[in-house]
């Protein structure tokens, strides 16, 4: 974090750490979305409270402010808002595309799978006997299949982003305070958006906006302000202590015999760690992770240029495309594993193959965009906010 530089210099060059970490988060989300995947054993959700979703939303907020913030300063509110909304529309289309693939899978299972053991579970297919209702509810973002909750969250966050960005650029601390207030009120008043057929959104946008806005706040000049804090030894120690605590607790989820070492009072106070409303424990865990990462992985860390990390960086640079591809590949992979009644070997194969496809696609997109004169090098020079479509 170059804290002595003026704000312009801070935001003029892409921070490759963001691309790298977002790329890794996309990989982890893919692995976690294949149920029964032995490889998802390595993902961070097993070693603490927060998971790749927090990272993805935070970095998305950061890049959205980074890209559209500049557009808003240079081209004004209307134009930059229009771009943000166009981006939200693209994500909506991508979401509906994924929904179509999901429907195809459902139709296939409905036609081929039968087992009296699962007579009750198969009732879920009854919903799909009314395509008029289900498709309509999906278009309204009220019906969301399992694991398809992140994009709708992202859409809502972007749609509400223009006014938030407007304030962020003028009074960043006020914007952050407002965001925290909304978060607190949401927890208190149980605000959320309705879902179909029942209930509420799995990722509550009114709670998760805190991470998005916090990311945006860091991008518009908050990060240098945190620099002193992040350099302090006490913060580092506190972060590490908390991460170790979360790690120990998470161990008891997997080794159930260890559970008795967690005092009952602590368990009763701590659980459930609510993902829907971005539990404070999760948010704190993300902050601790970020503090430690920023401390040890510097912006100018030479490793960021090393060829080993380029695949993840490349994926992080095309996050929407790669995210959608990841959701699709997780569907497809799960399907293959189910069809073949596959064991750990097949799960590993499918996981690795998925990561390779994601990476290859990221390079392909770079190639396309480079061909169209929108490659990374051209992009930095041209102030054209088309780059917005790649960043956010």
């Amino acid at each position: 974090m170059a804290m002595a530089s003026p704000p312009q210099a801070v935001s003029s060059e892409r921070d490759l750490r963001l691309d790298l970490i977002r790329g890794l988060a996309l990989w982890l989300i893919f692995l976690d979305h294949i149920p029964e995947n032995i490889v998802s054993w390595i993902t961070i959700r097993n070693y603490g409270f927060s998971d790749a979703t927090e990272i993805f939303i935070f970095i998305s907020g950061y890049t959205a402010a980074f890209v559209y913030g500049r557009a808003m300063r240079e081209r004004g509110f209307i134009l930059s808002s229009a771009r943000i909304l166009r981006r939200a529309w693209q994500i909506y289309v991508a979401h509906i595309f994924l929904f179509t693939i999901f429907m195809a899978e459902i139709a296939y299972v409905a036609a081929t799978f039968d087992n009296p053991l699962y007579a009750e579970e198969m009732k879920i297919l009854d919903f799909f006997k009314q395509p008029d209702v289900i498709v309509f509810q999906a278009l309204l973002l009220k019906f969301k299949p399992v694991n398809m909750d992140v994009l709708p969250l992202y859409i809502v966050l972007l749609v509400l982003f223009p006014p938030m960005l407007f304030v962020l650029l003028r009074l960043p601390n006020l914007a952050l305070a407002a965001s925290a207030l909304i978060y607190a009120l949401t927890l208190k008043m149980d605000w959320n958006l309705p879902a179909y057929p029942n209930g509420v959104w799995f990722f509550n946008p009114f709670a998760w906006q805190l991470l998005f806005v916090f990311g945006a706040w860091c991008a518009v000049g908050g990060a240098p302000r945190l620099a002193a804090l992040l350099r302090s030894r006490a913060v580092l120690v506190a972060a590490i202590v908390y991460l170790v605590f979360a790690f120990c607790v998470s161990l008891t989820w997997n080794f159930e015999s260890l559970e008795r070492f967690v005092p009952l009072l602590l368990r009763q106070w701590m659980y459930p760690i609510d993902k829907t409303n971005l539990d404070v424990l999760r948010f704190a865990h993300f902050l601790a992770l970020a503090a430690v990462t920023v401390r040890f992985v510097r912006r100018d860390w030479p490793g960021l240029k090393s060829p080993i990390l380029q695949p993840a960086i490349r994926c992080g640079q095309h996050s929407l495309e790669i995210f959608c591809l990841g959701v699709f590949l997780a569907f497809a992979g799960q399907f293959i594993i189910a069809e073949a009644s596959g064991g750990p070997l097949l799960q590993t194969f499918v996981s690795v193959l998925g990561l390779i496809i994601m990476t290859a696609t990221a390079y392909l997109i770079s190639w396309y965009k480079g061909m169209e004169g929108r490659g990374p090098r051209v992009r930095v020079k041209s102030a054209d906010a088309d780059l917005a479509e790649r960043g956010a």
Binding site: I38, W41, E120, V146, A195, S257, R267, Y271, P272, P344
Partner: protein
């Protein structure tokens, strides 16, 4: 939560070290049916009155359809295993299984069932219908709380049972949130949770049952229910500290 089991199963299978022949034996690792809570009232009924009345409350996954469905479902299997393992006791299992009933429905029905059956132990299978209907997990929790409190007020022990592990419908029917709530409610009220989800996942991972298989026959479903009955009986005996040895000593 159970990926570790996956890993262990994988290692066991890969190294060819799986001692039990798959498909033959459906015993589950002790850790999967271990419980902090104990079933003191049930144990008391056995020790003092040599009698145990169990009510099973649940939805369709607690019963098999087809010819003689009830006889092959886990409640009947549970009764049979308990009779074998706790000889000399009068053991009766009554099933109150209705398809499509949510946890809210069951919480409402419980007081009447408790009054009529006067059970010492209630097995409460819940969660699947709520997941099907997309009931809000918080609402689900409130009704579980209510039901568990009613069972305790009727001076009975409770064992909660969560959903089946159903890999083929996993991408359509998300049960994790509900399983988490049940775990938490069990913890808070200090009642036993029979983690059917984890147990069946273990069977799948260890190759004991192929739960992906499409079949219209009842053979596998019956065998799974039989194994659920056995695992459930094992957990109940353990949580009531009613090892066969103890029983002979006590009167």
């Amino acid at each position: 939560m159970t990926f570790l089991i996956t890993v262990l199963a994988a290692i066991a299978l890969a190294s060819g070290a799986a001692a039990a022949t798959p498909g033959d034996d459906c015993d589950v690792p002790a850790s999967l049916i271990a419980s902090d809570a104990d079933l003191a009232r049930m144990a008391g009924a056995i020790k003092e009155r040599h009698r145990l009345d169990i009510s099973v409350v649940g939805s369709a996954s607690s019963a098999l359809a087809g010819p003689d469905g009830a006889r092959f479902s886990y409640p009947a299997q549970l009764e049979q295993v308990l009779k074998e393992r706790l000889p000399g006791n009068d053991i009766k299992v009554t099933a109150h299984v209705l398809p499509r009933q949510t946890t809210a429905d069951m919480a409402t029905a419980l007081p009447k069932i408790l009054a009529e059956d006067r059970p010492t132990l209630v097995i409460w299978q819940a969660g699947t219908v709520d997941a099907l209907r997309g009931v809000e997990p918080e609402e689900f929790r409130v009704h579980l709380d209510k039901g568990v409190a009613a069972i305790a007020a009727a001076n009975a022990d409770a064992v909660m049972m969560n959903m089946q592990y159903s890999p083929r419908t996993e991408s359509m029917l998300g049960v994790t949130a509900y399983a988490d709530v049940m775990r938490w409610v069990a913890e808070r009220h200090d009642v036993v949770l029979f983690d059917r989800l984890a147990v069946m996942r273990y069977w799948s991972d260890a190759g004991i049952f192929d739960l992906y298989a499409a079949t219209s026959g009842y053979a596998m479903a019956r065998r799974v229910h039989q194994c659920i009955g056995r695992a459930l009986a094992a957990q109940i005996i353990q949580a009531g500290h009613l090892e066969a040895g103890n029983m002979q000593i006590s009167r």
